[in-house]
Symmetry: C2
Subunit: 227 residues, 2 copies
């Protein structure tokens, strides 16, 4: 088992947060929210002895994180029994404007997952994951599009990471200034940022004008309506 009974990931030597541990969490619910809101992850791995960091699309299904990107096929070729990775999803929530440069910061939520990613070879699993990836990016989209062919499934490289060693860091709230600095006539506070705000959809130039735009495109919003 990789989680405690209370729904947290186990703290291991790899995931133990040493710097500012008060900002850390291992709670599955909070970590799931970060995975759900994020659109891309950054995947770190070692290639030819050197660290490499690549943005990829992802989806979480049950207790696995799946990644997919243009580099995946090249990665897979260099894999012998899996590829050791660190996958990080970061959401930037705001700028923290303090009275000194030293206390400037950012409000963010970031999750890191460590482990050995394995190629997905089963065609049924691939199909399920690709559907989840499309729906992760834009909910309801998979039911609206042409489904994958066997050749497309074979041509798609997916990596799966079992979520075992996972931790998150979260910063919220106003700046924390040195006590003496609160007397300074400097504006201080936070500037909230939204990180995936949809503009006006742009129809493909080859789309017939009669094609109706579905509501999940027209009303796209990354955050749930309640937030």
């Amino acid at each position: 088992m990789t989680t405690d009974l209370d729904g947290s990931y186990k703290v291991t030597p790899v995931t133990k947060v040493r710097r500012l541990p008060a900002r850390s969490t291992y709670e599955k619910l909070q970590i799931d929210e970060i995975f759900e809101e994020g659109l891309t992850c950054h995947v770190a791995f070692v290639a030819n002895g050197r660290p490499c960091c690549i943005p990829m699309a992802y989806a979480k299904l049950e207790d696995k994180l799946y990644v997919h990107g243009s580099i995946a096929s090249r990665l897979l070729k260099s894999m012998k029994g899996g590829l050791e990775v660190c996958i990080t999803v970061t959401l930037l929530d705001g700028l923290v404007l303090a009275r000194s440069g030293f206390h400037h910061s950012m409000n963010y939520r970031s999750v890191m997952a460590f482990g050995t990613a394995e190629p997905v070879t089963d065609e049924g699993e691939k199909e399920r994951v690709l559907a989840a990836m499309v729906d992760h990016i834009i909910p309801g989209r998979n039911a609206q599009i042409r489904q994958p062919t066997p050749a497309e499934l074979r041509a798609t490289s997916l990596l799966a990471l079992q979520l075992e060693e996972v931790s998150a860091k979260v910063r919220t709230g106003p700046p924390k200034d040195d006590e003496a600095d609160y007397a300074l006539p400097v504006w201080a506070g936070t500037l909230p940022l939204s990180t995936a705000v949809a503009g006006s959809p742009e129809a493909d130039p080859r789309l017939p004008a009669s094609t109706e735009m579905p509501s999940n495109v027209r009303e796209y919003s990354r955050k749930p309506a309640a937030s």
Copy 2:
């Protein structure tokens, strides 16, 4: 020299883009724009033999990329003669909604810089870099705040990466569907995303109500007004 005469980074075995090379660029101007617009980077390195990927704040000064984050001090302790890194800045510009799942994609701009990051020890350089980091996040801010003390400069860990091995990938434009799929009655196109949209500034609860909010906070916009 690390650049060609035409203002591009040299293509090396490390930075040569093998997958979809048509999307790659080594042009300094385009790469500088990505560095300028981004707020955070992801830094990959190897710790205890395992890849690690951490979000950090950064600033570019001349031909160096500087990173700063809560992990930096721990990293620096494990460094002997520099730390090999890959630093990636990714800007997500939109969702590419194709007629098949296979051709779904994202529009993005991403730059990767490889090399050995060195700790910054000179206090004058630290001060200059920290000022640039504050102004990178919010232009004009450094002149408005209390300047760093010698103790703060000593307590700040910065890493510097000489920009030599750098490449970028950029995807723009509508989906590229299979020819037969263009006849399908599926809405297709792109959904532009803005990735750092400012909400209403929230004053620090301890800020006197009389403190005026400066225009660089009130009118914060990540992109230049022209775009």
